[in-house]
Amino acid sequence: MATPPQVPQRDVGGCPVMHRDFAPAGPAGCYWDLAKELRDGSPVYFNTFAQGYWVFTRHDAVKDIYKTPEIFSSESFTPWEPNPVYRFVPTQIDAPDHIKYRRILNPWFSPRAIDAAEDDLRVLCRGLVEEVAPKGATDFVNEFALRFPTEGFLHVIGVPPKDADLFVPWVEDFFAGFSGDPAGLERMTSALGGIREYFVAALEERRGETEPRPGDLASHLLHSTFDDRPLTDTEMLDMLTVLVLAGLDTTRAELGYMFRHLAEHPEHRRRLIEDPELIPLAVEEVLRYYTIIFGDGRKVTRDVEFHDVQLKQGEMVYGLVSAANRDPEHWERGEEFVIDRTRNNHMGFANGPHRCLGMHLARREMRLAVEEWLRVIPDFHIATDEQLTERGGGSMMTLLELPLAWETA
C-alpha cells in the first residue's frame, strides 16, 4: 500500500508527506491498523496521491471538519476525485439547499418510520436466518448481510423486493470505481447508468398520478416541492441513486464485521443472549470500533489555517473517521472493543448536517440481525483458516466474504 513519498507540488510547511492509495483490498482489519499507524504518526499528512490532499487523523480535527461545513464543502467527499462524475443529492449539496432536500427525505428514515417497518423487517430477517440455519454453514456476507439490508431498504422505500437482484450487482460495480481505482471507473459509470434507467422508468410509470402512492418514495418525490416548485427529474434521480448506493452497501459491511466479531468472541455472544438489553450498546460499539468509513472527504471553500496547516481554497481534505473513533485522546480504551460501553458518542454515522440519513434503519437492522440470529444460531464459528479479505478503505471497508459454520440439531 505504501510507496516512497513524492515531492508535493506545493509547500506544505513541514507537514509529513506520504504517497498512499487507499483503494486496494487487503487482509480484514488492515485499514484500522493503517488508521492507527497514521494517527500515531502525525495529526496531519499531505498525501501526494492523485492531485494531492490533506489527511487528518485525530478526533478533534475530524470533528471540526464535520462541524464547519461553511469551510469544508461536501461538493466532493472523495479527496482523490475533487470533481466526481456523479452528483448525489443531498449528500453533495451544501447549505442553504441541503436541509431543504433532507426534510423531504427525513420522514422516510425517521425512528417512527422505522418503528412502523420493524415487524416487517423482523419477518424478513427471521426468514433469512431460518433458511440458512438447517444448513449448518453459510457465507454470511453474501447469503445474509447483503440480502437483509437490501430487502429491508427496498421495503422501506417501496421498491418490489424481487428487484433486489438488479440492485445488488449495480452497487458492487459502483464501489469498484468509487475508491479511485481507474480500472473500476467503467463499471462505476455503467452501474450509475443502470440505476438511473431503473428510476427513470419508475418515475415515468408514476407521473401524472393525482395522489402519491403510500409507502412509495419515487411517487412521493413526484409530489414533493423544493422552494414551492416541483423537484426536477435530475434532482429526483440524484436522490434515489445515492439512497440505493448508501442503503444497500453500508449495513452489509457493518453486519459482516459485527458477526465476525461475535464468531470470534463466544463470551460476547453469551452476554448478549443472557442480557438482550445490551444489544443496542453493542451495536453502537460495533459502529465505533468497526467504523467502515475509513475517511470522509471535503473540499476547502477558502484559504484558512486549520489545525496548524495552511489550507487553500479548492484543496481536498480527508478526515480519518476510523482513526478518530478509536483516538486515545478522546476515548478510554479506544483500541479495545467494550461491549457495554456507555457515553459512546462515536462518529460512525458522521457528524454535522450530513449525518447519515439511514442511521435509524441501519442500527435497527443490526439489532434485529443479532436478536434473530442468536435466537436460532447461538453458537457459530469462522469456517476457514484462510485470511479474510476486506475491500479498500477508499470505498468503505467491507468483508468480501465471511464463511460461518455451526452445529445443527
Partner: protein, 66 residues
C-alpha cells in the same frame, strides 16, 4: 437538574431518546420535540440525563444544575 438541547447543533442522531425516551421525546423527522427550552429531569433520572448529555455525538446537550 435540567437538560438543554441546542436546536442549531442537534442533527437528530436520536441517541438521547434512545437512552431516555421518558426525558426526551421526538418528532416525525426524528428530532427531539423540545429544543432550546429546558427539559425537566426527575430526581431519580439524573444518571440517565448525564448519560444522555455525554452520549450526544454533536455535543448539543448541556446539563443545567438547579
Amino acid at each position: 437538574m435540567k437538560l438543554l438541547i441546542a436546536g442549531d447543533v442537534c442533527m437528530g442522531h436520536g441517541r438521547c431518546y434512545g437512552i431516555a425516551p421518558d426525558i426526551v421525546t421526538y418528532d416525525d423527522e426524528g428530532y427531539p420535540t423540545i429544543r432550546d427550552e429546558l427539559l425537566a429531569v426527575p430526581d431519580d433520572r439524573v444518571a440517565a440525563a448525564e448519560e444522555v448529555a455525554a452520549t450526544c455525538p454533536e455535543e448539543a446537550i448541556s446539563i443545567i444544575d438547579d
